[in-house]
Symmetry: C2
Subunit: 653 residues, 2 copies
């Protein structure tokens, strides 16, 4: 057991530290707070800014992506087309007596899990929080828990329900609530059947109140809508990716679980536009040997949670992961997560089950991070096919396509429809429009059938949307024939691979993965944030307030500022140990101590947060070491190899 | 006349360039757009990110401010307390026939200005767009313009109205509309009287629909609400500043003027908390000799627009600017604006008139930038006194104060109120609360009067808010006497100095200040963005697609990436001149050309955008020169002094 694991993890201690050091706090706390809304204080804000900066360099700069900043206010029509108006919702149940509102799937989950726990206890089995390392685990307080033994059959039923909890419709949930007699867990009172609740925040744009709008639920739509402009900006070259970093909103029914489930959150999303006929990636070779932990559909469907570890190269070549571009991004996501402090042993890629995945998606994997709340979905990585561009194009009649010159012109011999418009109008009158539209929008396959019908019977008889009864089109009015043409250009709607990051969830997970307490004193907590993303890199500590030391403080801070290393000076009268402790909680990786030897020979001591090891060197050498370790990813051992180890007597007390 | 001014500025050309190069575009354009909403494309997004980065370094890092990131969703109560629910509104007039809605003050302004223009024309005077260099000038299309001569008296009246246009109430505006017979300018149809329209976007938080919220109209409130936590984070040290960068929202009645008046915008705000008894600033000496252009209240009230130029030191010592801290920030704002490309000759500080300024503010200056729309308010710099902390504290009963140990304890001899609560209840019944509250909240001055009344008449007779008739408190129930206490601590509510930046407006103004066309060909536009904030720093141009040159492209791009200099490669077949032209429009300050000499001796050519001057040197020397000029603020002349001037024959053709 490493020393970092000597003191068991406590979520309470972590939350106390994060609040005490103002990483974040409930928003509007002096007004009683609003659940699901949080403010980031100075260290949280700096940590977030560093993660955004790392993300921008890792993805946007490294891959030459086109960053856009689009509006959060979004008109109704756009989100109607994208499907959010109809489908971005959860089911809720009201308790008419208390006025409480429950999210139906969470309610069923909590109550059944509590009953299973009670059953276990009644059977004399050990019930531990740690046992429930389930991806869907959340904080729960179900008051009805009694240690009641259940029928074996019922236990199996409950377990089966819990395994499928993400896939139930509102009706299903209502039936389960009725069948298992689920009530308000706090009062035992009855609940109304589930009703649908759209999770978008609604508002009115402009003074008339007639233009309905929403706060965006994701940044993706703004990128899709700008596709044509982005393609032009990219000189019509494919593939390319756009990216966006910004706030999105989700009006959660009853948010809990701190930063994991909030109503306003920072997202970073990439939309990589690719030719559907070629999803290879030019840089795949660079990452193909990276090993990841997978939880594929097949394993989940077999009722197991066992991870499959293999290289992304193997995962793609075996078709477990659909294509190279999707695999490339999964590897890049993994590299990013490790860079900012995620524990590789607590990161897995879970494939979506068929009932979770949108009908149009061809594959989808979530990067999940393990926390005290279970495995948490932090990054989604989906192949959304041509869905988004197609629906917006259909709705607006704007072409959202790529025209790619063919290497060699090709002959096509397609069915084409030739309508005699002069006769069509008088015959069909008001139906002429719908009938024309219907006929011109048929696929090649359908046209082949219609051509045959026309040849065989001299007419087409068909139903047409928006027209009553059957429509009969005689052959005098229409021709459907194969026509040979030479094409020089292939026109296609690009597919979209979408890596989508919930930065708040990642931030919280990194806090959990970085938090530990010193074995010698469990009240001394440490946040081992990587130097690259730590809010402050260096704490400058003068040993005493003696005026001889003062000039060295500004000498050091000037050097640090020049090296772009954010620092804080702590010249308080607290002991050195106390001052370091405070900064261990803030995740500050380095401490520079100024003492009376500094006055003599310009040397200072550098302390490393996690090991509390110290080295001594000239001011320049020390600042250089810190810079190399922080920004070039060099290890402490290597970065300080040329410096003198420094034995301390009692400074950490 | 400098060569940059040789071709007259054209807003149309600028807008075409900004759209063609996708700096920004109307949001949801393929859906027909929504007025007042814009998306930033890749160069706009990068430019904005660089400005934010510069802002963060210039203010937050340089001054060690505490950055916070607070939520945009804000509950009703908070904005009710801050005054926004009641006062953050404009007046609008409806045309019931057409459904159009007009912002009342803009309507009056537009129509009167159009009539004055018509009058001028009728008098045979020259009417030029450029003549109206008025801060309030906006794009206007008033169809009723006829060249009708007006009475001299009416002209004077109109001019007086226009000078006071920002100060009118809704009733005033209604009276003016009636008096001057102002109708729908497009149709001549009648308008309804002005009604108030709150400019905040409203929404409901949570599923019950009962928690009313708004999108924040500014980032300031989130900072005020966290004051106590920030003070604690700062180890109770004063003064200190918090800062926040984020989107805010304003539901404009009828937004026009492009990026200048939008419904969703990026703000950067600082709240500097200061002791009301000491508004000096420790670093004031560093900036006191900086000269600014002022438009103080006195000059405006005298009907003049003439700027007063003096040092900020003189402005503060003469009390034209209220205090050192306010003056310090004005100077720092000016330095920031110049750094990112504002023309110093088109930047002024305008003091608010008494009818513009909030009643609690002790002084307020706007940094205004001159554009083709007139002088535009881009940064507000206000001393908001203790207003915000006081109202939130009063509403929530949370103490938002600073406790400062006194250098020496002091004796105070204040009046104190001692109420006999046992007798108060029976005597005043339901009024006991209001009467107690009224008496305990009196100032020292009022208590002195009440004590005298009590001594003289044996009772207090007074009106109490919320209580009918007069209240009589006999001396048996109350004592008001001086009590001597020793105070060791002074408790005070800090005052707030608030510099508040509208980044979108600044960005647009910088575009105007940077835009010009080459005299030799007015279709060749240039955006002279400073290297520090330019979206891309270097364009890499191989002279031909010959394979000998290819290895040098990656050699150069690797060197640029290592030096953190964003670049683009243009290896298209367009002429060098055309490739440079494209990048002149994108504001790219440097071009590096690879030619066949590069293959021989590893040398490349560096071209400067504005002068089109070129120098030649080794790859390392050239990259170093670019880095120094971009990030260290060194001039082109100095940064390339050691390199060989390079004469071109025809590359710019």
């Amino acid at each position: 057991m490493s020393s970092k694991a000597a003191v068991p993890f406590s979520r309470d201690s972590l939350e106390q530290v994060l609040k005490r050091r103002f990483f974040f706090a409930p928003a509007f706390e002096i007004y009683g707070g609003v659940s699901g809304l949080y403010d980031y204080g100075p260290p949280g804000c700096a940590f977030q800014a560093n993660i955004v900066d790392t993300w921008r360099k890792h993805f946007i700069l490294e891959e030459d992506m086109l960053e856009v900043d689009t509006t959060m206010l979004t008109p109704y029509e756009v989100l109607k087309t994208s499907g959010h108006v109809d489908k971005f919702s959860d089911w809720m149940c009201r308790d008419l007596k208390t006025g409480e509102i429950f999210r139906a799937d969470h309610l069923v989950e909590e109550v059944l899990e509590a009953r299973l726990k009670g059953d276990k206890a009644a059977r004399g089995q050990k019930v531990e929080e740690e046992e429930e390392d389930d991806k869907k685990k959340r904080k729960r307080k179900v008051k009805e828990i009694k240690n009641v033994k259940l029928d074996d059959e019922l236990v199996a039923e409950y377990e089966s329900v819990l395994n499928q909890i993400d896939g139930y419709s509102g009706e299903d949930l209502g039936a389960l609530i009725k069948k298992y007699n689920i009530n308000n867990p706090a009062t035992g009172g009855p609940l109304e059947p589930p009703v649908e609740f759209n999770l978008m925040f609604e508002t009115a744009i402009g003074p008339s109140g007639q233009l309905k709008g929403y706060l965006r639920p994701e940044t993706a739509q703004g990128q899709f809508l700008n596709f044509a402009k982005l393609l032009e900006f990219n000189n019509e070259k494919m593939p390319f990716a756009s990216a966006s970093i910004g706030k999105s909103f989700r009006n959660e029914i009853s948010p809990r679980a701190g930063l994991l489930r909030v109503r306003e959150f920072l997202m970073a999303e990439i939309e990589h536009f690719v030719d559907p006929e070629d999803k290879s990636h030019p840089r795949f070779a660079e990452i193909k040997d990276l090993k990841l932990k997978f939880l594929p559909t097949a394993v989940q469907e077999a009722g197991s949670n066992e991870l499959v570890e293999k290289t992304i190269g193997e995962a793609v070549s075996s078709k477990m992961v659909d294509n190279e571009t999707l695999g490339y991004f999964m590897a890049r996501i993994y590299q990013f997560l490790l860079k900012i402090g995620v524990d590789p042993n607590r990161c897995r890629f879970r494939q979506h089950l068929s009932n979770e995945m949108a009908h149009y998606a061809s594959d989808c994997w979530d990067a999940e991070l393990e926390t005290s709340y279970g495995w948490v979905e932090c990054v989604g990585c989906a192949d959304r096919s041509a869905y988004d561009l197609s629906v917006h194009s259909a709705r607006t009649n704007e072409k959202l396509v790529v025209r790619k010159p063919l290497d060699e012109p090709r002959k096509v011999n397609d069915f084409e429809v030739d309508i005699d418009k002069k006769k069509f109008g008088p015959k069909f009158r008001k139906d002429a429009g719908p009938v024309t539209k219907f006929l011109t929008e048929r696929t090649q396959c359908e046209l082949e059938d219609l051509a045959k019908e026309l040849a065989d019977t001299g007419k087409i008889v068909t139903k047409v949307p928006g027209v009553e009864g059957e429509v009969e089109v005689p052959s005098e009015l229409i021709k459907i024939e194969r026509v040979e043409r030479t094409e020089h250009v292939r026109e296609f709607t690009p597919n979209v691979i979408e890596p989508s990051f919930g930065l708040g969830r990642i931030i919280y997970s990194v806090f959990e993965h970085s938090f530990w307490a010193r074995p010698e004193d469990s009240s001394r907590s440490v946040l081992s944030l990587p130097p690259l993303v730590a809010p402050t890199k260096v704490l400058v500590v003068p040993l005493s307030s003696h005026s001889d030391l003062t000039p060295f403080v500004s000498k050091i801070t000037n050097a640090l500022r020049k090296a772009q290393l954010p620092f804080k000076v702590d010249d308080s009268s607290a002991t050195i140990g106390k001052r370091y402790s405070r900064n261990d909680e803030l995740g500050t990786p380095f401490g520079i101590t100024i003492d009376f030897d500094t006055v003599k020979d310009n040397s200072v001591t550098l302390r490393e947060r996690d090991s509390t090891k110290q080295v001594r060197g000239t001011l320049d050498d020390i600042v250089n070491a810190v810079k190399t370790i922080t920004y070039d990813g060099v290890s402490w051992t290597k970065g300080t190899a040329h410096l003198t180890p420094f034995e301390t007597q009692s400074e950490e007390k």
